[in-house]
């Protein structure tokens, strides 16, 4: 299903992404050329989607949240200060959107219900099955991390933010981010091992 009106071809965004071009796009958007947001959408929406998916475990909520973030970018475009990197600003918005979302939803839906096995086409059946179980277990372990550790881990591992940027975005010092990363990985490892202990190798997940 193609979008009704194509503002920009996705190809335009696959070229090397210069971070300053994000800033330039925001300046244009602030000037009133809001359609330029489409480029930023094409660049970031999958990463944002995955960020939210790992936070909420729910595909539909994650899509809502992505939409919310871009709406807020439009709405608050005038408050964007050129000094910080666009992605740092965007993830601040994303985190806030997520917090608002949490407040609204009393319970998160169970990760098990929502997380489907990732498809991986070419691997042989047995290997594929254990890789899938691995991934599912890891996702479940991730889900059980406390929020702040999870956020910091996601931002550094998946959203490819530098620790310095994460520190800026979360308003704390870089040392505390680094030690949070350390603790998050340790905790994750521990939970993952616990989960593995509860599974025999080839049974499907419960």
């Amino acid at each position: 299903m193609e979008p009704k009106s194509i503002w920009v071809s996705p190809n335009e965004t696959r070229r090397f992404v210069d971070p300053t071009s994000d800033n330039r796009l925001m300046e244009e958007i602030k000037d009133g050329r809001v359609e330029r947001l489409a480029i930023l959408f094409e660049r970031y929406h999958v990463m944002l989607f995955n960020f939210f998916l790992r936070l909420t475990g729910n595909r539909s909520h994650s899509e809502d949240l992505v939409q919310d973030v871009f709406f807020r970018i439009l709405k608050y475009r005038k408050t964007y200060q050129g000094q910080s990197k666009f992605s740092v600003w965007m993830y601040q918005i994303a985190r806030n959107a997520h917090v608002d979302h949490l407040r609204k939803r009393k319970q998160e839906m169970s990760l098990d219900d929502q997380f489907e096995e990732p498809a991986s086409a070419e691997t042989p059946a047995v290997e594929r099955m254990s890789a899938e179980i691995d991934a599912a277990l890891l996702n479940r372990a991730l889900d059980r991390l406390p929020l702040r550790k999870k956020e910091v881990l996601l931002l550094s591992r998946f959203q490819e933010m530098k620790y310095r940027e994460i520190a800026e975005l979360m308003g704390c010092d870089i040392g505390s981010i680094k030690s949070t990363v350390h603790r998050a990985i340790k905790d994750l490892g521990r939970i993952y091992v616990e989960l593995q202990g509860g599974e025999s190798s080839c049974t499907a997940k419960d």
């Binding site: 009704k4 489409a38 929406h45 595909r59 871009f70 709406f71 550094s156 998946f158 990985i185 994750l188």
Partner: protein, 273 residues
């Protein structure tokens, strides 16, 4: 013990940010320390596994929702002309909302602009007969979110955040009783004069809500700050609330009252009688 030091370096190690010298030092230590080696290996393993978690793709609906929203927004801007002349474009919408009191009308406008609220966007949504479902839903959800955040902001320890809560409250489409109750509570009990002042201005917008007028009159008796008293008197006189007459009279009798407030109260009394 270098083992402790290694812990601090781990985060940088995982993202490959260690400089050569530190890396060499670390590797030298690891060669001799089994405990650290094991720890590092298990943590690295998790890090690597995380890296191979596949990237999920959103549904195709996400893209079309986005472009719909963008189109609607752009059209709204064009119609509202907000980029060109912020306040004139609001005037017709505003006049339906508040009576013709220039100061407050403009205050409302400013509040909207400050928040970056695309009023053109809202104009657009209101006037559409065939509202696009997704846009309307989004607006509704955003409004709900705002309401929750506004109420929570009003309870924060930081007065700046409470100020933000007041200004968020006035931007809501359908504020609801919860917000109005929170604003009245703020007016009566907030410890900060500035926040109470902001609450007075905000409540002006809701004066036609049941009970608000009465609460405003009652609030006057309890206020201690002259600035808030002045603002509240202006508000009550401005909305021509006759029930304020008695409260004003009492204020004038109070011997502790600031003479400027007394003067204003006397003026107000005259205007309302």
């Amino acid at each position: 013990m270098y083992c402790e030091r290694l812990k601090d370096l781990l985060a940088d190690y995982l993202v490959g940010e260690l400089d050569e010298k530190t890396l060499a030092e670390a590797q030298a230590h690891l060669a001799g320390c089994a405990a650290c080696r094991e720890e590092l290996e298990s943590l690295s393993a998790i890090w690597t596994k995380l890296g191979v978690l596949p990237k999920e793709q959103p549904s195709a609906a996400l893209r079309s929702r986005f472009y719909d929203m963008l189109e609607a927004y752009k059209e709204g801007l064009k119609r509202g002309g907000i980029a060109a002349r912020p306040l004139q474009s609001l005037s017709s919408w505003l006049s339906r909302l508040v009576p013709r009191r220039p100061a407050y009308q403009l205050a409302l406008a400013l509040v909207l602009i400050i928040a970056g609220l695309g009023s053109g966007y809202l104009l657009n949504v209101r006037s559409r007969s065939n509202a696009r479902f997704e846009v309307a839903t989004l607006k509704h959800e955003v409004n709900d979110m705002r309401r929750t955040v506004a109420v929570s902001l009003l309870k924060q320890a930081s007065p700046s955040e409470r100020l933000m809560g007041v200004s968020w409250s006035v931007q809501l489409d359908r504020p609801g009783d919860e917000i109005i109750a929170a604003l009245l509570e703020t007016l009566d009990h907030d410890s900060n004069v500035n926040v109470r002042l902001a609450a007075v201005d905000a409540l002006y917008l809701f004066y036609d809500h049941p009970e608000v007028k009465e609460r405003l009159v009652r609030s006057l008796a309890g206020q201690t700050s002259p600035l808030v008293q002045l603002s509240l008197i202006d508000l009550l006189v401005g909305i021509r609330e006759r029930r304020a007459v008695e409260a004003l009279g009492q204020l004038i009798q109070d011997h502790k009252i600031n003479p400027k407030v007394k003067k204003r109260a006397e003026l107000g009394l005259a205007q309302l009688s």
